[in-house]
Symmetry: C2
Subunit: 762 residues, 2 copies
């Protein structure tokens, strides 16, 4: 299969979304449904003294006001966030109660009438404040939530070898997922358990979280996923909280209950991307060879740990960038603060460290008077390279990415002269990124696809991997279609429903295509074998000699031929059922927490990016003239989808690089809607070139695929920031490089004489 | 497993039904849902000339009036019944149009305003009329819908050998299923296809029927089964029609559409039990040995063939009763009439022929001056017996049933003297009955059970066999619970949903426990093996040495022990998923339509029944003094359930025997509600003793079970009718033996002097 060219297929879920027939969670209504509204207090750190719901309950149509004491099960969602705060509020997003009412507006009105008496506590708002001696502590006996390390070689000796040592500090901001659809859930009480309707990247995880919060066994919580209006790494911890609150309301009232957040609530309580501060010290020879790197970082975990351990672990093991360095010491810590909590956002720790390491590489190149491409080529991972965690790499396609970059992007040429009042610059970057769950997860990284072939030859496909809008279900359909030689129109994916589907983990870590794509092939081959056996026996030929193609099964000489549908009719007279079941798991990985090394991910992908920017010197506005985003995606299954994934990740990175920031001041979220949160539009992004690279060496799984969901978010920022530096001669080391900070850089550039009279002084 | 005593378990679905939390189809509501009402005409045979819906459409809230030309796909449901009549109405139940309106009452009101012009056609109301020369023909070129035969030996020679020849005619009536819940469906249009909510015994069959009617592929029609309020062999063809009509309304309006029948509609259009006329000629030696039997029968198929072929086939192959007879000729035909159509009703052709053959056996005994038990013993099937279809039988437990009858029922004693004005009598019967689909179905008779074990050790069980209220899901839970040694409370069956579950056929032919019970064991053993391998490897023991019991896994010496839940946690670190998939199929069967013989069913079960009745001579009221219903059920999995199945079948047979009849006059259904259809109550039925017999020789499947759903409906009528004959000396050969016919028999008995002065003249 790997050597055949696959024909791209249209998105099978597009029709419903385009026509409005697709149902999102807020479209779901049940007779007698109640609405649930969270009650919050404006303090980022406070002890709750008393909750008085009497005024709220006086409103006609208000059914219940529930607090932490009404939580049936464990009032701590996975990794700490409470369903409702029992005692101490730790950020302004925390829920202290919920109002359950007949209408949404009534619930919102009543929530304001719930009177919460509380005592303000001293709070901390930055990781540095949090770790200072005498700081108020949020959890346990220290605000140090987590420290991850990698250690390799002898760092002191490495720096001694160096001809040049650079030390730089980089910082990234707090950003949000910004899905079109805010988070929400509807919970229906059933005769034996509950049914939860909610979007999310990890339906099986949410089911488990809600089961624990409700004191139910896992098989008593059924989660059905409606259409999803984007997630971008979110719709996970936040959904846990929302679904658990709606579930407790449903169980107590015995009626269906809905909670959907407003955009304000998404900003107020919803998780955000971790802000990082990263201090890099790098030593290199004059010839560009890096001899040592020391990295120290500190991330703002916010009020709860949630998935910070895993996020910071990924950042730690990838922090050097894709370079062979003999002597490495990386330490990245996370600290609790009284800010809204940080959690998974598409990229999951990679964009932060890639911004830093790739900025640093260009800084080093400049210091050494080398081309930024050359210094990368010199140090780049090659096949069999040993990472900072002492893992030996396979399927390393970085040099191919850099070759492609050199081919498609004018790395060595100067930009064309811009109009007056504008300057242009070019920058590049490259990355590596671990695929799928990695060694941070103890269960096998697996997915299942089951197919049932109906008697008319149409096919029902079951996959436990959530479709997030990225087209994951399409890949599964495509694999089954291809393997069985049946038109994709004859296939249909059943909606995600945990009561029926095998737990295939979450759509995270860019693992969707790798796991479910390979499982789909196993399932389809399983079905194919059954069918081939029946047909071959009927024909008196060997099953291996049969070809499945064009909705037909035939022998190579076409002497024998049968329509697929007729073959299925035949199979139903011989077999108990016509089906294929397939599980596929990534090879195991491991991490040694004592030695701070291990085989972190079963596989990695690689990428390179070239960016040309034009900066308006009067406003600081950065226009993207050209971005070439090259990604090693392994085998390309559906090129338009892959290009869309790269473009989607890139547009998210645009905001991360230039415009987006959630402003929190003293624990108060100041950015409360999209009017204050600048998302890029297609017009900002029109010159982006997604370039999927199908390398000579495919991914190390049967399908040969690699994951592209997240790498695409990580190369843009450093390439663009390096381009800005190229244009202005001044480096921005803190994201976002927004109008204010670019304008400041322009002023600095003019002060330094790098820019003079509205153009580069060359 | 077969030698262990199983502990009965409570019904896992009882809570929802008892508390009202279970949702039936008419409880299902969606926002914007429309109601669909069928339009019918009062003529049993008519050509439609014109349908004028203008007056109906003038009513505010009437959305559409649809006719046959609006049917998207094939306007013929499986085996002929149209979704809506195109041209010729063939019975008064036929739908000629549907009204779609905002409310149920509006739809009903508007249906009366649809004006149908039609031309009356000559009609036939009995099979005899239908087959008479010159009769108007309903389908094709003859009203002879089907003729089935069995032929064995030389019938003429057999009668020549006989010392005595009896010839008798028996007749059975038209009866109904009488489920508490009338039939209905809700159909929701989806982005890609439709979702159908409806109860039914064959959800996968209904899905296929609706798909064909809607012109959709099978995977585009998803059927979800709500709780079901009884079926008794129904909720099948009728549901096909209802769901197809609601589906066309949903597809045309783009809105959810509901059609639920009133009781009147169930009587008017719903399928009924086939009325049979059966002519038996039997020859026997003086010693009781039967030498020949010739059976000719004619059934009223009604207006459409639906499942009459299969029903009449079963009646034909079972018509001799469970006796070894060398010379057999059976011919049973079915004829189309302009009556509402006949179809599957619990028992499916068996109760009719068993009533006849077992009445005949007692008549023969009386003629020969033998005890009715003795004559049955002489001729009864024994292990290896050859049936009328030349099938060699295995696992024949008839003699054990007769032994048990003799043990528990005073076959040889006279009844106690009744009060004055009453007489008592005793009668017996015995039967054999083929299990599962039989040779009439071309696909393998199989079912699948899949189980997913959640990370907390709770278990989700998937079964494609519909729960009809009989407890079929409970059996599956019980098998999985037993095999894995896990409490049944930790298991949950997911609702039946064709979008996820493997097509396991219908809950018909008493095949539920045989197929899904055995599949459940296969699935559980599959999961057990996976778990055992992981645990055994961890312990360094052999997987075969592990015992699964009491939610624990341990070695025989209990040196090593682990809680089941902890074992699952361990498994999740080693396996891609923890699951078990199981398919199980009955051995193949066959039928030779040329030779009229074959291996009709993979297995058979046996039963015997003793009845004592007391007849009030002034009213004809028959009181059941005692009924002992003994059934060979193979291995007993859950004794209370088996007893309930026998009792349930018996109570249905009570109505069939004594009270129930749907009165149709000239094609007009006169019985239009339960006020005119006399169902037995628990008070009528209080003296019924269900006696499941676990025979020495279990069923010929791994679990050793036999099906009891339908045999239980077949022994009651002949035993009670034989008892009436014993009491009155007069035989009733037409069912039901209602007050009128018993009173007539009393008068005849008095005329014959058998009863004199209010008591038996002995």
């Amino acid at each position: 299969m790997v050597n055949e060219k696959l024909i791209p297929v249209d998105r099978q879920d597009a029709y419903g979304k385009i026509t409005g027939k697709a149902k999102y969670v807020d479209d779901i209504k049940f007779p007698g449904m109640l609405y649930v509204q969270t009650v919050r207090i404006p303090s980022p750190h406070a002890r709750i003294l008393h909750i008085d719901s009497s005024e709220a309950l006086k409103l006609k149509g208000v059914v219940k006001v529930l607090t932490a004491k009404d939580v049936f099960g464990r009032n701590h969602l996975p990794n700490d966030k409470p369903v409702l705060v029992e005692d101490v509020v730790k950020c302004t997003g925390d829920g202290v109660a919920v109002v359950v009412a007949e209408t949404r507006s009534l619930a919102a009105k009543a929530a304001k009438l719930v009177k919460v008496d509380y005592e303000e506590l001293p709070a901390v708002f930055t990781p540095e404040e949090a770790l200072a001696a005498g700081a108020p502590v949020l959890h346990g006996d220290s605000n140090l939530a987590i420290t991850h390390k990698t250690v390799k070689g002898d760092i002191a000796a490495g720096f001694l070898e160096a001809d040049i040592i650079l030390e730089r500090e980089y910082a990234t901001q707090r950003a949000m997922h910004a899905a079109i659809e805010p988070d929400g859930a509807v919970v229906v009480p059933e005769a034996d358990g509950i049914t939860v309707y909610c979007p999310g990247k990890g339906p099986f995880n949410v089911k488990r979280a809600v089961a624990a919060a409700c004191g139910l066994s896992e098989n008593k919580v059924r989660l059905i996923q409606p259409a999803i209006g984007g997630a971008f790494g979110g719709k996970d911890c936040d959904i846990n909280a929302i679904a658990s609150r709606a579930a407790m309301a449903a169980m107590i009232t015995g009626r269906p209950c809905k909670m959907t957040w407003t955009r304000e609530e998404v900003l107020l309580e919803g998780s955000k991307r971790h802000p990082f501060k990263l201090n890099y010290k790098i030593g290199a020879k004059k010839d560009g060879h890096i001899t040592a790197i020391e990295i120290n970082g500190l991330a703002d975990v916010g009020a709860y740990i949630t998935k910070s351990k895993a996020t910071i672990w990924r950042a730690t093991v990838e922090a050097t960038g894709p370079y062979t360095i003999e002597n490495v010491s990386t330490t990245i810590a996370g600290a609790f603060t009284n800010n809204v909590y940080s959690d998974a956002v598409r990229g999951f720790g990679s964009p932060q460290v890639d911004f830093a390491s790739e900025s640093l590489m260009s800084e080093l190149a400049k210091e050494l008077g080398m081309s930024p491409l050359e210094i990368r080529r010199i140090n780049a991972y090659r096949e069999g390279a040993i990472t900072a965690t002492s893992q030996k790499l396979k399927s390393v396609n970085l040099i191919e990415c850099l070759d492609k970059l050199e081919e498609v992007f004018p790395v060595h040429e100067k930009p064309a002269a811009p109009p007056a009042g504008k300057v242009r610059g070019r920058g590049i970057s490259c990355i590596f990124r671990g695929e799928a769950n990695g060694a941070g997860v103890t269960t096998l990284d697996a997915a299942a696809v089951n197919i049932h072939i109906e008697r008319d030859g149409s096919i029902t496909v079951l996959t436990g991997i959530a479709e997030m809008g990225q087209g994951g279900s399409n890949i599964v359909l495509q694999m089954v279609s291809k393997a069985l030689g049946v038109s994709i129109e004859n296939l249909k994916v059943s909606p995600l429903d945990t009561a029926y589907l095998p737990d295939s983990g979450a759509t995270v870590g860019s693992r969707g295509t790798i796991t479910s794509g390979n499982a789909a092939v196993v399932a389809a081959e399983d079905a194919k074998k059954r069918i081939a056996n029946v047909v071959a026996e009927d024909w008196g030929v060997s099953p291996e000699d049969l070809i499945f193609q064009d909705n037909t099964i035939f022998t190579e000489n076409k002497e024998k031929t049968i329509r697929f549908t007729d073959a299925i009719t035949l199979c139903y007279t011989k077999l108990p059922g016509v089906f294929g079941y397939g599980w596929w798991a990534l090879p195991p990985v491991w991490w040694d927490f004592d030695k701070n090394s291990g085989d972190t991910y079963a596989s990695f992908n690689y990428g390179a990016c070239g960016a040309e920017v034009e900066i308006d010197l009067s406003s600081g506005k950065v226009e993207i003239i050209d971005v070439a985003a090259i990604h090693d995606v392994g085998r390309i299954l559906n090129e338009p989808e892959v290009r869309a994934q790269i473009a989607g990740g890139g547009s998210m990175a645009y905001g991360f690089t230039l415009t987006e920031e959630v402003d929190i001041q003293k624990g108060q979220v100041k950015t409360l809607n999209f009017d204050g949160y600048l998302l890029p539009t297609t017009m900002d992004f029109k010159n982006f070139r997604p370039i999927p690279l199908e390398p000579k060496q495919p991914g190390i799984n049967p399908l040969g695929v690699k994951g592209i969901g997240e790498s695409s978010t990580a190369t843009f920022a450093p390439a663009v920031i390096n381009a800005i530096e190229d244009a202005l001669g001044v480096r921005i080391r803190k994201l976002p490089a927004n109008l204010e900070s670019v304008f400041e850089a322009i002023q600095e550039s003019e002060r330094l004489g790098y820019i003079k009279e509205g153009r580069r002084n060359e």
